[in-house]
Symmetry: C2
Subunit: 591 residues, 2 copies
């Protein structure tokens, strides 16, 4: 099944929802003036469709394999990766001082979506490199940056994140990997890590591992964790590769999906200790890790959007081809119609489309906020953008990955029996999508992050500013007097009202009854996403009304408002009056 | 991962929700008087846990394989099947005249649930045999019944259903397989069938295929379809097996799940025509097929319940074992707690539990209605029960299989990263569950069946009777004055109000605007299920209030009402005001 990047909707979302034009007008994205955005996206779309999309099925079928410590990626993957890196795609958002192009995250996000639609398991690898680049750039010593950054930026080497251990998944307090000072400024790392994405592979000559470990005299808990750079091959002074470091891949997981992405168990220091270099300060590794993870959450959100888009395209193509039954208004004895004429099939396709585009809207809004948080020169503006990004990060990550699963599952349903047969390719999307709600912080953890850490920002003013913006969009829809909006204004207003009340409840309750706030965190996040996504789609529809593509944008915004946003009042109830039922679970689980 | 049948909840649901006690009191289930129900269920639970549950992982890993036309089932499956049949489990609901035990479907349903929880792909095979028995018993000639029924009832042979062809899936109008009269009372069958579950295997010596085909002079469309019995091996007069019939398995599908269940492409008549015998009358095959399919829909609903139950048990066990983080109220420096202490994990587990039990309630209610539709001696009562069953069939099939996917997916989420690793076994449940919304009529088709064919029964009185019963339960909850119900009464009442209005809208709209009715069919079905499932759980909680297990039943009913039933008003809006948005999809798909 082929993939064609939805450049039109991507550009419309960048410009009319995520405010790319304003970013340019404010002088914060000088590289994207003129038609640069479209030019870059067209090239990316071409590469994604022609070079990456064919890898997807191959990767699923062959997977990556481990033999004698060597991981082999599927046929064609190595070559595609090199072509992709040589074309400069890896360097897009990276700092210019190290060979990057320093383009806004907003543009990079559109490209990330495309790579992931084309071949999810492929695109996952470079995302880890991006995280490593960011952590190293922000916290690494000049020497480390000099040695590693340019190669990571060019894609000549790839990076990894080594956090998880068998007993330490979501809870990094339990981390046990050790680092000892060697006396020469380096450290010796020992320990077992699991679930290390692209921990070992044959795509690049060297792999730069970023590893969390504990010093002997470190305090207990997460305040005693440090971050180390541990290369697979040591690097000589002249930049050439030296000895193999004391680390190896001891196993790869047999997973539900993303078969081509090697998920490695890593053993550090079997022979005394892998040589590592400290990134940032001792015992301050968590802060470095957050740098590495925060954009990773945006990128995982984009994976949700991406897999949903691919599943939608495939289901749509099938529904336009497959003939079963006849349309309601077809004369007796008519030949079978494409199933897209049937209302329930259309409903499913519109649901897939609306969810995909709403998740795109939220994710791009987040990218824009992150760009402003880095690029605004005015401190209050930078802070406001950073808080906005902080709030949108868990919302985008959890919502986009949730709908990724949901849309991929509906895609199977549209295919009927063919959807269950692996050769069709629809099932792979569900299998691949299923990881994204788990990694980079489970969606439950995103919801907790949202309510406990993000809502209180600036005393609740940050979230109120976002809600006020949503109200502005709903008011515009109401004032637009466009029949095609149907009940959109009323549904959005109901959702924003529900969100506002639920937010007030959260802010008022978290001090005295944190358990109640936690019980409602997931429904609250979804409520937030419905209001944010619904206003996002409406904003796009308002902007495009007079253009040719306006009718489709309008229909999509309307569908989302009338079929999805409608759930908002139920979610409000789950938040504000649902905690008692969760507490009562004592009676169930004690039994 | 082991499975322990939830006998306590099964019995409570049978007695207090599905009215088993009343069925016995009415003299309609004499075999179940005294403690027979518990005695049979305890035996079934034992067999399911000890003999079948260990097959599940083995079946997934090895799958069934095809070589030179021979299908080999996974290690141990053949032996388990024989032990299961010899213990008499296949004969439970079958007619006593042919060696069956003639027990109520209600009891059989509880057992079917257990077999499917233990090993979904295993239990699927006998379900097809049950369908074949029912069709043959209802429509077959005495001679056919004499030759085949006893062997099917004992489980010595298995049966299949051959409906689908590449161009004819949901739409049987397009069926092309041919049957020619041989002149001796038999027929010669030629054609290709696909997606034939257990179409070929090594579990039994003979396989009895029920095949839909078209006579040369048949009218076009579904009124020209006949049903034939086509055995793999012809049967001699003395009951011994004769020549291999002209049919073969030409391929098996590589599927997302149920790997052990061979999904076969069948070729009939490569060498001139397979010998077949007519079941029922010529061109009336569709009626026979509906006999075969109607209970099949109940059985698929039970598969949804079953996989949800298994996924719930596995997630619960994991959450009680796995330690990450500490409880909110734990003193500083405490050791890590089992993750079940975290509110969001509890919320997920309660969601899984409540959905599973609500689907069980609806499915068992359906089984009871089917029993009454066969067993009531009073004609008006029989008709009322038949109409009730007709309505509940699509509701149970679609809802239970939808939640089967949903619960299995949440089960993965509870496991975090371990859930994505196949060895854990949580992912298999999602892969297996994914078929059930598709086969035996996709869930979209169930929804259409509900609104177009079932709501109008007795001029809408049948559905109104069901809604009136729901109101009775909601009133009892309101009157119970039990604090543990929380907001249950209010939520149920809101849902029943929404269902009543949506039903009126459906009945009023279907004549003039069928497209609008079809656009709302799926949300309508879900609305129906929420009200039916919510009142079912409440009914059980009311009955158990004074017993020891009452607190858990109450907490579950409350959770479902406060976290799931709350969606009802949104679904009403999707039904009554959502059709415009589906129609507007023209603007999207024409673009």
């Amino acid at each position: 099944m082929s993939y064609r990047a939805p450049v039109e909707d991507i550009v419309a979302t960048l410009r009319h929802v995520a405010g790319l034009d304003r970013l340019i007008a404010d002088g914060l994205a000088p590289d994207l003036e003129g038609g640069m955005t479209e030019a870059i996206l067209d090239e990316a779309a071409k590469f994604a469709a022609e070079r990456l999309a064919p890898l997807n099925v191959v990767g699923d079928k062959y997977g990556s394999t481990l033999k004698d410590g060597v991981v082999t990626t599927p046929p064609g993957w190595k070559e595609a990766y090199r072509a992709w890196a040589e074309a400069g795609w890896n360097a897009l958002p990276a700092p210019e001082a190290y060979g990057g192009q320093g383009l806004p995250l907003l543009l990079q996000s559109a490209c990330t979506e495309m790579w992931n639609s084309a071949a999810f398991a492929f695109a996952l690898g470079p995302l880890l490199t991006v995280g490593a680049i960011e952590a190293l750039h922000a916290h690494g010593s000049e020497e480390l940056k000099e040695t590693y950054l340019a190669k990571l930026v060019s894609g000549e080497w790839m990076g990894t994140m080594n956090l998880t251990e068998p007993q330490a998944g979501s809870d990094l307090n339990a981390l046990r990997s050790k680092a000892e000072r060697a006396g020469d400024g380096t450290y010796r790392i020992t320990g077992q890590k699991i679930f290390i994405t692209y921990g070992e592979h044959d795509m690049t000559e060297n792999i730069v591992h970023l590893v969390l470990a504990r010093l002997p005299d470190a305090p207990a808990g997460t305040r005693g964790i440090s971050l180390f750079l541990v290369p697979k091959y040591l690097v000589n002074k002249d930049g050439s590769l030296g000895a193999h470091n004391d680390l190896r891949c001891s196993g790869i997981e047999h997973k539900l999906g993303i078969h081509a992405s090697p998920t490695c168990s890593m053993a550090y220091g079997d022979e005394g200790g892998a040589i590592g270099w400290l990134i940032g300060e001792e015992n301050r590794g968590l802060a470095c890790m957050f740098t590495m993870m925060n954009n990773a959450r945006l990128n995982v959100a984009l994976q949700g959007v991406a897999i949903a888009e691919r599943a939608y395209q495939q289901a749509l193509a099938f529904a336009q081809e497959r003939r079963q039954g006849t349309a309601l208004d077809a004369p007796k004895g008519s030949a079978m119609s494409p199933i897209i004429v049937h209302p329930d099939i259309r409903r499913m396709l519109m649901d897939m489309r609306a969810k995909t585009q709403s998740a795109r809207a939220i994710s791009y809004l987040l990218a824009e906020a992150l760009d402003r948080s880095h690029r605004e020169t005015d401190e209050p503006k930078r802070k406001a953008a950073a808080e906005r990004a902080a709030i949108l990060t868990p919302v985008a990550k959890a919502y986009a990955t949730d709908i990724g699963i949901d849309v991929a599952s509906t895609g199977i349903q549209v295919h009927g029996g063919m959807g269950y047969v692996e050769e069709t390719g629809a099932a792979q999307h569900l299998r691949d999508a299923r990881i994204a709600t788990i990694y980079e912080g489970t969606n439950g953890i995103q919801a907790i992050d949202l309510v406990l850490r993000k809502l209180p920002l600036s005393g609740g003013e940050a979230v109120k500013a976002l809600i006020a913006e949503m109200r502005g969009v709903a008011a515009e829809v109401a004032a637009a007097n466009t029949p095609g909006f149907g009940h959109t204004a009323a549904r959005l207003t109901a959702a924003i009202d529900a969100l506002e009340r639920a937010t007030q409840w959260m802010l008022a309750t978290m001090g005295a009854k944190p358990a109640e706030v936690l019980a409602g965190a997931t429904p609250y996040l979804k409520l937030f996403a419905l209001a944010q996504g619904g206003t996002g789609l409406a904003k796009k529809a308002l902007a495009l009304r007079s253009e040719e593509s306006g009718a489709a944008a309008l229909a999509t915004a309307r569908f989302y408002a009338e079929h999805n946003v409608t759930e908002a009042p139920a979610l409000e109830l789950a938040v504000t009056e649902g905690a008692g039922a969760v507490e009562d679970a004592d009676a169930v689980f004690a039994a």
